[in-house]
């Protein structure tokens, strides 16, 4: 078994916020807050929307807002030179909020897959593929889902995932392994 340090594809996280803007944000500068939100909003919303699944746009927006509110209010506690990157810290907050939300709320509305319509073969294939991945991820528990998404869509390494989800490294490997198996099974149903 080969365990790579990071996924082979580029991480979907943006370049980190510069130190000057970060310090301004720590001091409560609203323009710096704006820069911070605009820098990280795309991966945060992406993580939350994949965690919560379709039909929960309003919840995703609320959780994104709560995530960034928590971030700007907690910046004093973030150590810029510390072990965690700002993006990892923010994604950690988002992931934990999503897990809490999924534990607290009722199951997502029944998934209605978009109709194929008159799309071409390629678009249809991608839609089928996306639906298969969504179904596979939706079948995972929130904790497994978070580990998989942080790894495969946001490029976190095992140690960062362990810290983010407050679990040990072995558990990270175990969860990712099961998530990959589920994903492979789902992908096998869709022709390449």
């Amino acid at each position: 078994v080969t365990v790579a340090a990071r996924p082979a594809t580029p991480a979907r996280t943006p370049a980190e916020l510069d130190d000057v803007t970060l310090r301004r944000a720590c001091r409560g500068d609203a323009m710096a807050w704006r820069a911070l939100v605009e820098r990280y909003q795309r991966p945060v919303v992406a993580l939350l929307s994949r965690m919560l699944g379709p039909g929960r746009r309003a919840q995703v927006e609320d959780l994104a807002q709560e995530t960034f509110l928590h971030v700007v209010r907690g910046l004093d506690g973030f150590a810029p030179g510390g072990p965690a990157k700002l993006s990892t810290w923010i994604l950690t907050i988002a992931a934990r909020r999503a897990i809490d939300e999924l534990r607290r709320r009722a199951p997502a509305p029944a998934l209605v897959e978009p109709a194929g319509g008159e799309r071409g073969d390629d678009a249809l294939h991608r839609a089928e593929l996306a639906a298969a991945i969504r179904r596979a991820i939706a079948d995972l528990s929130p904790e497994y889902r978070a580990a998989f998404l942080l790894r495969e869509y946001h490029g976190l390494d095992y140690a960062e995932i362990a810290t983010a989800l407050a679990i040990d490294l072995g558990t990270v490997k175990s969860r990712l392994s099961r998530a990959r198996a589920a994903l492979r099974a789902a992908l096998a149903e869709v022709h390449p």
Binding site: E66, R134, S174
Partner: protein, 470 residues
Amino acid sequence: MTDRAPDDLEPELGAAERARLEAWTADAPPADLADRVIAAARGEPATSHTPVAGPRRHARVVAAFLAGALVTAAATVVIVRRPDSAHRAAAGARVTTARESIALGHRGIAVAEPGASLAWHVDADGAARVEQSAGDVFYRVEPGGAFVVATAAGEVRVTGTCFRVEIQMKPSASSLKGAAVGAALAAVVVVTVYEGGVVVAGDNGDQRVAAGERVVVGEDASAIALGAPPPVDITRDQLLVRDATQRRIIAELTARVAGLEPHVAGPREAIRTLRRGDPRDHADDDGDGRPWFDPSPELLAQFAAECRIRFDTPPIEGTEPFQLPADYAAEAGIAPAELTAINAGIRELHARWKARLIALYLEATGEVDRDRADAMSPSALAREIEDKGAEGEADEIRARIARERAGLARPPADLSQTSPVERYLRSIITLGDEMETIVARAVGPARARALRELNDGWGSKHEMSGCSTR
């Protein structure tokens, strides 16, 4: 499911499998997420969750009337925070596209070259801090407390009056090791002192730099003070070369100061005036007996030479119109009926402004999805419109408007033939007048003017300056 690690872990995904993951696209963030976060952080209690349909969706800012105006990216904004102090607290941020003079509250002037990026905060007690993240900026500092320029490579603490901070991004040998090219740049900061002195605090400790000296600080560049004593073993020829070099540098510095002084003179006078007066009095920053937003003909002529325009705007940049709180109004001597008129005016102008911006946005960008434009805040729409302008276009328009305001040129006969960027700029600079007209319908022209003068304008004070060299 159990978390116990299995004996055989499922292998990592391969490149082909990861490529297939891309089929699952994610939602895009809402256009107003930053507005909502800022509004919630400033004006709402720290609840962990509030209903979506509740106040969190509204950019309701209650900290202060003046702080409620969101900053447009292209404007210098001075935010008055405490009107009852001897000096005004001020803060702002600027990314320059042309040379600009920027008043740093009552503490000094920054002359920023194109490409400079700085943010500043000046307390009412005079302590000033500037964060300079890029570019070349000349500073003239007035006495009155700590004055610090923070850069990525260290801090410059001012003990003198006149210096320049230049940030250059250079390849870094250490960060090149195993890093992406984008990350392989390090900030090298060049500090040149013209008068007085500064202390540069970097990783290698503090270093005093006196007038006529220059110091280079940053990764791979140990501090080099050109004014340091010569080595004891220097030869006569080396001493002559060193002397000639220093003379050339001093001549360059002298010429640079001479070139910048006229640029600085106007704002310096404004600062002196600002420091003399009680901020609660009607604005007389220019010492001409006129409100800040209504400069004298002489000042307008000076502005034309500097390609400078000045204007005030009500707080209408957010997703929702700001509403002046009753307690602030009472403290400022605004009667309840006048408060109603002001808040109604802000709402009316917000709606007008947004409709105007949407039309310009659709024209400038070619966007056909009106709903998408409708979801954007006025400040976001404005940024998009500005971004669609040709390089240097905004500078040229600003120069023409400055000349028109001084009576040195005629405005275009048919504005509909001008570009969206020009119509946007011409519209934003008249928002203060438009607000006054709206409020005057309810309280009369004289009182509307008086209300506008209460805080030097309706909310935010903007100045843009710098003539294009093209």
